[in-house]
Symmetry: C2
Subunit: 126 residues, 2 copies
DNA sequence: TAGTTATTGACAATTTATTGTCAATAACCG
DNA sequence: CGGTTATTGACAATAAATTGTCAATAACTA
């Protein structure tokens, strides 16, 4: 059968998500997982991300003016937002959400979702 | 001297911003301004946008997972947010802003800016 | 109005991100 | 262990957005 093999490459990528605890770009994933594998090719990261996304293990995070990030689906499923550090260029999870958004939309509009991206300096860079 | 010539192409692009009253993509600009000029080339739109941006007449709007938009600097300078209609794919201005964002950021982080993108259906599509 | 030159637009070229290909490798199964 | 085949990674190829080029045009100036 077409089973899934347990490779050290995919393991390293999964580990990167687990330990980083923040949304990761393809490049970040490559860099982080390379610490475990060393020979990890960028092509493999692209394949793994696509697969993990299709299987619902990770979810794509869209951020303004920056390449897509990915985070664990278990994290993504809980409503939250993101903080972008303009110094180290990393994204962090922000749990908490300003409410009352229905009050600010124009008349006749139907609000369904919202994305909030905070930015500034993370604790390491501040 | 290197003055600026008043061309109908640039005029059409300026008019598009004035009448649309919402952030426009390069493609949208091309489409809207083409109604005035007809022969307007995409190359000209790229050039005009770059120049208007450099001269501070328009400002780039970064939106999550979508190509950049541009809006009049006079609009951009007033703090506001955007609404994305998932049906017609247009962006609209939202005046108003949820406050209290400092309360939700992690400890030690320094909040400087924030971007809020609401999404759903605009009044035309709802 | 005639001359100068900024602007335009067709087309080619570039850039960057992502995917296709395929031989070598390594994970899994009996 | 040995065979099967999913996976990997080097490399080429593609796709899409943006920019370079340059002859033709159109705005401006004297």
């Amino acid at each position: 059968m077409t089973a899934h093999r347990q490779t050290k490459q995919l393991e390293a990528i999964r580990t990167a998500f687990q330990t980083a605890e923040r949304p990761l770009s393809i490049e970040e994933l490559h860099e982080l997982a390379t610490r475990d594998v060393g020979t990890l090719g960028l092509r493999t990261v692209y394949r793994a991300v696509r697969r993990l996304e299709e299987e619902g293990e990770i979810a794509r995070v869209l951020v303004p003016g920056d390449s897509d990030r990915y985070e664990l689906a278990s994290v993504a499923s809980k409503h939250h937002h993101h903080f972008h550090c303009t110094a180290c260029d990393r994204y962090f999870d922000v749990h908490g959400c300003p409410g009352g958004l229905n009050k600010i939309i124009p008349n006749g509009f139907k609000l369904e979702h919202h994305d909030l991206t905070l930015s500034g300096l993370c604790s390491s860079c501040a």
